[in-house]
């Protein structure tokens, strides 16, 4: 199981880094449908056993994904309460399960639309917006508002080359005027930037957002100069379990050529930044727009209702 957990964690982390956690969840649930349809099922008890093992695996990945754990917990409840109520399982249980996964996929689309709708309430007309991470939610918000006829321009702060290119391609494709700037030169643009948009992988019980590396620095910088900071997040991404403050660190042995001999040293690389919610001006979700105190309240309510056993 340990080996499988490592393989699964690595796989999810690679995908999340490329396409973000919302699309990762869609990809996992679409794959789950194909897997269930291909599964050589002996009986419903066998399926329940296999599904429990999968739920456990999802809960053990490093890092843990709030959105996956939330929906897998919902699926577990669905299996217990709807497919096999009182220990008696329905005949068409497989179809019911697949249909429930499809409903979850549909939820994702619905929640995305709700975030877009809520984003319309922000006044973007004539504004200059800074983005840094390659959050698909933020990209969708910008494209949606552009399609609504709003006029604004975007400044893309550079980070990982591929992710910056992804932002550039999306802005170019949507014909949104944009400029690109190295992330360490933003201090020269404080007066030009009217607002800063971010997305997050999850929100933890410590009321921190888990975000792309480098985000914390930019958020702190603009918090100090008083530029409004907006977070766009789907509430199903919340990590509804008690978490501890920790960061995932990757240590790499690096070697650089020197004129006489190679220099070997440890290079510290962090997978994500943890950013306190209190640094944001507004948090735009599928359930509405909140200030930091409001999002904390919402998180604690959801945690009480859906707390996931890890």
């Amino acid at each position: 199981m340990q080996a499988k957990t490592e393989v699964f964690s690595k796989l999810l982390r690679e995908i999340e880094m490329e396409i973000g956690s919302r699309d990762l969840a869609d990809l996992v649930f679409k794959s789950l449908i194909t897997a269930v349809n291909s599964l050589d099922v002996k009986d419903v008890d066998f399926f329940n056993g296999e599904f429990s093992k999968l739920v456990k695996l999802v809960s053990q990945t490093e890092p843990r994904y709030g959105i996956l754990n939330y929906y897998f917990a919902k699926l577990s409840k669905f299996t217990e309460q709807t497919i096999c109520p009182d220990g008696k399982c329905r005949v068409k249980w497989k179809n019911m399960f697949v249909s429930e996964v499809k409903t979850i996929l549909g939820h994702g689309d619905k929640q995305r639309l709700e975030i877009l709708k809520n984003s319309e309430k922000i006044d973007l007309e004539g504004k200059t917006i800074l983005i840094h991470d390659h959050s698909h939610t933020v990209q969708d918000v910008l494209v949606h508002n552009k399609n609504m006829g709003k006029h604004f321009r975007v400044i893309i702060a550079e980070q990982n080359l591929e992710k910056t290119h992804d932002n550039i391609e999306r802005m170019y494709g949507a014909e949104i005027p944009f400029q690109v700037v190295p992330a360490y030169m933003l201090s020269h643009l404080h007066d030009e930037i009217d607002m800063v948009f971010f997305g997050a992988v999850t929100m933890k019980s410590t009321i921190d957002f888990v975000m792309a590396p480098g985000d914390h620095g930019i958020i702190s910088e603009f918090h100090v100069v008083g530029v409004p900071l907006y977070m766009f997040i789907d509430t199903s991404k919340f990590s509804l379990w008690k978490s501890e403050k920790k960061v995932e660190v990757f240590m790499h042995k690096h070697e650089r050529k020197h004129c006489s001999k190679p220099i070997t040293y440890e290079r510290i690389k962090y997978s994500h930044d943890r950013v306190p919610a209190k640094l944001f001006t507004q948090i735009v979700t599928n359930q509405g727009i909140f200030d930091p105190a409001g999002i904390k309240k919402l998180f604690l309510e959801k945690m009480e209702k859906y707390q996931i056993e890890i």
């Binding site: 080996a3 499988k4 393989v7 699964f8 796989l11 999810l12 690679e14 995908i15 490329e18 396409i19 990809l27 996992v28 679409k30 794959s31 789950l32 194909t34 897997a35 269930v36 291909s38 599964l39 050589d40 002996k42 399926f47 296999e50 599904f51 093992k53 999968l54 695996l57």
Partner: protein, 433 residues
């Protein structure tokens, strides 16, 4: 004296090529120039010894394949096949091995492994399995598939260029032994690697991981947006080229003209979608120069009468066509395991031509023995064929270390088995047909 000098130049050049002291194209061109400077060949004779039909066919196919691959159609096809497997390891193995054989029958083997091996490694590694058996199979099937057609592998292009045997004759004469070899290899691989290949249909975790990996490679390998018109043009031209090869004798045009025509028409049709200078740059000019130099050196050897004597000696040593065919098959197979098969085939072409002129009746089976031995023998070791070396490099870059011994443990027994299968085929064909 001149004979010994010629033989000396050829053997030294061969040694330098085998031990990779210098780039092989440089060695072949150097040997060719030396033969002209010493006076073994006149400049005119040197030019005449170059098989331009072979060089032009190679050039045209490189251009055609490069332009076609820019459309993204091959990657798209691979990803679709990956999706079709639904993560079943045995089906992944069977389909990817077969698609490798089919691709390499029409594309060059190196292009085939460049298209298929990275995707397989990502898929199988992502599923938490060992990709080595899959990569080994793809290496072997790239060489096996290449042996089927006139354009699949350089030895066949050389044989076709020298003898005038056409595309259809290659397929007609080689499909049975190649099919037998494919079946034999599949069975051996499945038996030996059953632990890695057995189905996972009763394991939801494995199935889910496999399907997540398939979706991951879908976005990783399909980043290039497919343009419908580009893809349609590529498919149309590739199908027409294949038809042209199949009906070559009716059309009355040499293979290289058909391939060149196809490459130029495709380039003109897709001019806006490709950078033609980039396509021209992608032609492996060193390979073409290597072939040219080699043809001149073999021309020098031929002019001394050495190769004619060798063919006389072989024919006089036995009156049995079967024995000759088996000698050619095993000699070319064993030599190709370690040495570059191209110089060997270049030397053997005039030798077999000499044998044919001395033997009564149809001795064309000797060409098929040479083709099977040279193409399949390349599977014996990691350095036996270019596709093997390139695949090992790709695997190493993706964190899968393939050593010489790792590969040989699989490949040597399988290659010897393939040569036994081909020997049986040649025996039955010569005795009963």
């Amino acid at each position: 004296m001149l004979t010994y000098i010629t033989l000396g130049i050829f053997l030294v050049a061969l040694g330098l090529i085998v031990f990779e002291v210098f780039d092989k194209s440089l060695v072949a061109l150097g040997g060719a120039i030396l033969m002209v400077v010493i006076g073994i060949l006149t400049p005119e004779e040197a030019i005449e010894s170059i098989e331009f039909e072979t060089i032009l066919l190679l050039l045209a196919m490189m251009l055609l394949v490069n332009i076609a691959s820019k459309s993204g159609i091959f990657s798209w096809l691979n990803v679709k096949i990956a999706s079709f497997t639904k993560g079943n390891p045995l089906i992944i193995f069977l389909l990817f091995s077969l698609i490798t054989a089919v691709f390499s029958a029409f594309l060059d083997n190196v292009t085939t492994v460049i298209l298929i091996v990275p995707l397989t490694i990502e898929l199988v590694k992502g599923m938490g399995r060992d990709p080595k058996p899959y990569v080994f199979a793809e290496i072997i099937f790239s060489n096996v598939g290449g042996a089927l057609t006139l354009i699949g592998d350089p030895p066949n292009i050389m044989i076709g260029g020298a003898t005038g045997l056409n595309f259809l004759q290659f397929v007609q004469n080689l499909w049975i032994p190649i099919s037998l070899v494919i079946i034999f290899t599949m069975i051996v691989f499945i038996l030996v690697s059953w632990k890695s290949l057995k189905p996972i249909a009763d394991d939801l975790i494995e199935l889910t991981i496999a399907n997540i990996t398939i979706r991951k490679i879908q976005y990783e390998f399909l980043k290039v947006v497919l343009h419908k018109d580009f893809v349609i043009k590529v498919i149309t031209i590739l199908v027409l080229t294949l038809m042209g090869f199949l009906f070559q004798s009716q059309i009355g045009l040499p293979t290289y003209v058909i391939a060149f025509g196809a490459a130029i028409v495709l380039a003109l049709m897709c001019e806006k979608k490709i950078d033609i200078h980039d396509a021209f740059r992608s032609i492996e000019w060193p390979t073409l120069l290597f072939f040219s130099g080699l043809f001149v050196m073999v021309g020098g050897l031929e002019s001394t009468g050495l190769l004619e004597n060798l063919s006389h000696m072989l024919v006089n040593s036995t009156s049995s066509l079967l024995f000759l065919a088996l000698i050619i098959l095993w000699a070319s197979g064993l030599i190709s395991m370690i040495l570059d098969n191209i110089p060997f085939v270049a030397v053997m072409i005039p030798v077999i031509m000499g044998m044919q002129s001395q033997l009564t009746g149809d001795a064309s089976i000797l060409w098929w023995a040479l083709s099977l031995g040279a193409c399949l023998g390349g599977n014996g070791t990691l350095i036996g064929a270019s596709a093997n070396v390139v695949s090992a490099d790709i695997a190493n870059k993706r964190g899968v270390r393939i050593t010489f011994l790792d590969f040989m443990k699989f490949s040597l027994p399988i290659t010897l088995g393939m040569l036994v299968v081909c020997s049986l085929y040649l025996t039955v064909k010569i005795i009963y047909f």
